[in-house]
């Protein structure tokens, strides 16, 4: 690992301050129902005893994050009461006074400090190939921009409204700790993260196997296979105690009160549909489209009776289960099996051929992407779990940079439907352009002299996004189809993007397996 560059570190605070100020400009932007969700949680945790937190259902937005996040909201609510006491009343549904908005927005900006710190730690871990005199051309600088100015985080957290920056801060910090070989700290941070938001369970297999293989077994055989004798029970005990104590701290009170089944039922609501109201760009989006087109084709060719087909509007905006008409319907257990199968090779590979912390990072990415591709009721925002850690790899190798460009562009574009109000249209377009232009030029310059980053076909595919964007955002709303087929732009967006996400998933897999053949990577 290269020594951290000592000189001119001042660019990092400048970048962080710049983006924080930009976030403050978005205070009066549109915010989604998630704003009310978090306001409601503030109210619940502030005004009700702990025993009622997971039973309260005055609002439809019940508390469905793990207990540590509830405690986090509890802490926030003590600051909130100095802004506006009325936001802390459970009955005050859809309360959004100016000071409530100010407080909630500022709370996201300030809790992002965790993310900024994590980004700084990540920048310390990247390898500086040669000490470039030009600051703009240093891997650490590029990484800092890619993380801090990430388009997805900006619009999801600061316009749409969520606390992802804070949570990703924990994830990246724990990754950084692993890269710095401080495995216990990394494990602690990850178990805290799991107790803040359980969606990160998707990447838990990577953590589990990596820590078991590379931390609990202290030595390898000459051929790289595991040396069973070198198992260190002490290390396993340390890891186990960290994980159990965090979970005990978080879930303990509820176990004592005998509320565990209730908490779990809130955390894992399987009553929802295969796809979110707006399809995340994954395999199931393609599957749905295939089903639809087969059904239409069947009706046209008189192979199917239209009356027999189950009626279901798949993107009607409701979160509900529906049946496929031609292809077999998908149940939660099927998606679970698919997800497990998709991440199995990745996990197996870090067991058989551990490639250090970077191999772990690659495996973590594949877990995140695999569950995004095959998971049940996946949100489009979940693609950020893959994009952010991939930034670290992108500044270090040319091949990963290419994958990053495809994945980040398609993944970010698929977030466009989150902001559908015309006033925010310029912001999302401009921010997206900013991030894409920067990532393309900076990564190109970083990996110059090693061939082009993108295959011409990939370039054509990415440029096609512009056409999709113009059609969906400008042409379509003015056309007569707007009334008849209002969901068509969403469908087009998610299908087009899912091709790119699938492609990057496969590319990442190939890169992992290739690396396995020649495990000696510097």
């Amino acid at each position: 690992m290269a020594a951290p560059v000592a000189d001119s570190r001042s660019w990092f605070p400048a970048l962080a301050l710049g983006v924080s100020l930009l976030k403050c400009l978005f205070i009066s932007c549109y915010h989604s129902t998630d704003f009310e969700v978090h306001r409601n949680w503030l109210a619940i945790t502030h005004s009700l005893p702990v025993s009622r937190w997971y039973y309260e259902n005055t609002s439809e937005w019940t508390l469905d994050y793990p207990p540590l996040f509830a405690w986090f909201e509890f802490g926030l609510s003590h600051v909130a009461q100095h802004f506006d006491r009325n936001m802390l009343l459970v009955e005050n549904l859809n309360y959004a006074s100016p000071s409530t908005v100010l407080f909630q927005r500022l709370s996201v900006v300030f809790t992002d400090l965790v993310f900024i710190y994590a980004a700084k730690e990540c920048c310390r871990c990247v390898q500086e190939q040669k000490s470039s005199r030009d600051v703009l051309n240093r891997p650490s600088f590029v990484l800092a921009v890619l993380l801090l100015w990430n388009f997805g985080l900006l619009i999801v957290d600061h316009i749409h409204f969520q606390y992802n920056g804070f949570l990703f801060g924990f994830l990246l910090l724990s990754v950084a700790k692993h890269l710095q070989s401080q495995h216990l700290q990394g494990a602690l941070l990850f178990s805290v993260l799991l107790n803040l938001k359980h969606i990160y369970l998707y990447v838990a297999p990577a953590y589990g196997i990596y820590l078991l293989r590379s931390y609990c077994f202290t030595q390898d055989n000459k051929d790289g296979s595991v040396r069973w004798r070198s198992f260190s029970p002490l290390r396993l005990l340390a890891l186990g105690s960290i994980v159990t104590s965090t979970c005990a701290l978080s879930f303990g009170p509820f176990i004592v009160m005998g509320q565990l089944p209730q908490v779990v039922s809130r955390l894992f609501p399987f009553k929802r549909g295969l796809c979110h109201a707006y399809w995340a760009p994954n395999i199931w989006a393609l599957y749905n489209v295939l089903d639809k087109s087969l059904a239409t084709l069947g009706v046209r060719l008189k192979l199917l009776e239209e009356a027999e087909l189950p009626k279901a509007s798949m993107t009607g905006g409701l979160v509900q289960e529906f049946q496929h008409s031609v292809l077999p319907s998908v149940s939660p257990s099927v998606t679970l099996v698919c997800t497990l199968l998709s991440i199995l090779p990745a996990v197996a590979s870090i067991w058989w051929r551990p490639c250090g912390a970077r191999g772990f990072l690659r495996c973590l990415l594949l877990c995140a992407l695999g569950s995004f591709m095959f998971g049940w009721h996946v949100h489009e925002k979940a693609v950020l779990i893959a994009i952010l850690p991939l930034s670290i790899l992108a500044v270090e190798s040319r091949e990963d940079a290419g994958i990053f460009l495809v994945l980040s562009t398609t993944g970010h574009y698929s977030l466009f439907p989150l902001l559908f109000t015309p006033a925010e249209l310029p912001i999302k377009v401009v921010l997206m352009l900013l991030f894409t232009i920067y990532s393309v030029t900076a990564l190109r310059k970083l990996h110059r002299g090693q061939g082009s980053l993108l295959h011409p076909l990939e370039v054509v595919y990415l440029l096609g996004l512009i056409a999709v964007a113009i059609t969906c955002e400008i042409v379509f709303p003015l056309s007569p189809w707007q009334q008849k087929l209002p969901f068509l732009p969403l469908l087009a967006t998610s299908v087009y993007c899912s091709v790119g996400v699938c492609y990057s998933f496969l590319r990442l897999y190939i890169s992992l397996l290739r690396r396995e053949e020649k495990p000696k990577q510097p």
């Binding site: 930009l22 932007c29 900013l434 232009i437 110059r448 002299g449």
Partner: protein, 539 residues
Amino acid sequence: MTYTGNVNRFQNCLNEQVFIVYFSSKSSFLPVKVMQTWSLVSICVLLGVVVRWGVSLNSYSGAGKPPMFGDYEAQRHWQEVTYNLPLQEWYFNTTDNDLNYWGLDYPPLTAYHSWICAYIAKTINPEWVELHRSRGYESPAHKLFMRATVLVADLLIYIPAVVLYCLYLTDGSPKKKVSTLFCFLLYPGLILIDYGHFQYNGVSQGFALWGVLALGLGWDVSGSMAFSLALNYKQMELYHALPFFCYLLGKCVKLGLMGRGLFLLVRIAVTVLVTFALCWLPFLSDLNQALQVVRRIFPVARGLFEDKVANTWCSLNLLIKIRSILPSQSQLYLSFACTLLAVLPSSIRLLTKPTFWQFKLALVNSSLAFFLFSYQVHEKSILLAALPVCLLLNDLPLMVIWFLQASSFSMLPLFLKDGLLVPYVVTSLAFLFFSIYLLSALEHSSEEELRLGAYHKLLFCLPKMDLACIVRWKFYISVAAMAGLSIASVVLVPPPHLPDLFPVLVSTTACLHFLGTFIYFNIVQFSGPPSRKSQKKNN
């Protein structure tokens, strides 16, 4: 810098580009460099746009405040008037055009602009410009439309001019140019007035900037045309007129009034006359029409100053109540005399030494003199001084940043009235931090770089002291004072017998800053031209 000097510089820039492009075919390193510069430029522009749009999501002047509303309603009303009434009635008080309710009082180009906007508004939603019935019309969709018209005008006129100015007429490495561009685009005063308060200053300032740009590149005729357009958009551009006039005249004299100079002079004069004639064409058929427009544009009956403006008269008002001592006619003469006295030195200097450097400084000095001493000044007019000051961002970073900060601060009472506190704080902090950081203003503040050599000569009797250090400390203290006053105006409640305490304090503080800057820029203009050596060192 002479005429040929400027052209050479421009050609050098072009050559540099050509050179880089030429070599790009041979190695893979250089095109990346060009691409990087252009990507940095586009990133700066996009950041500028996103900040502008972010500010525009906030409230505007007079939002939900009947019966008069504010500048937003004025602009909408002009659209209504120009769309529905025949051109002959635009500037006249008729049954359909009540001049007391935001009557049109800008020159014809503004009226035409409103007319074009009105056509677009009509196709989107006819209610927006319906005669009489649309008064005080407010809706989120309409706000979006109005904000979009400002952004479009900015993207077409102001921003390209800024980009070209920074790329071709500032010294230094590409990175330095891009930094200057970023700070220029981020100047909070203009953003907050145009996108918060609501006005179209970007248009007139953009035309003026195109004029400066053309003059800097040696295209005097197109420059004078662009500036004529600026004058025809907003009469306040007269603040800049004297330097344009003196620079062009001085240049003609230098070229020889008997030969090429005369030819140039005639060409410029014809261009200006033709531009004016074209803009005023519909009003020239009837002398009465033209006179009425002029009367509307220059309302002398409105008094020496209104509200709390950070100029000399308003600040002096604390000590001497001029408005009650002098009759309004003598007030007019007094302010005219003072303004003339204040602009005279810099104009004469420019006339005798028509270089681009002198021209930029004269623009600053003239617009500041007009702001400080002329009749009927609005607090927003400080933007007219801010534009030429921005042109010097690269040359005198510390003083320029200081002035620009003070200028946005001077409009604080206005921003508070419009509910723009958050964007004011955010953009001011961003501008202050990034301009000091990117232009390394605090490091580049030696006596030589501040061009204060002449100051020593002026006050030779004083003991030697480290001026640079004093200036830096003054800067810190003044920023602290501005921050303190901003916080106080927001948080504290003024005592009941002094309801205007904070606006007066703000305007007086700002006025002191402007007076100081005025003196400073005059000193700089009368000291020697920038030595190339110190320029090189800065880079």
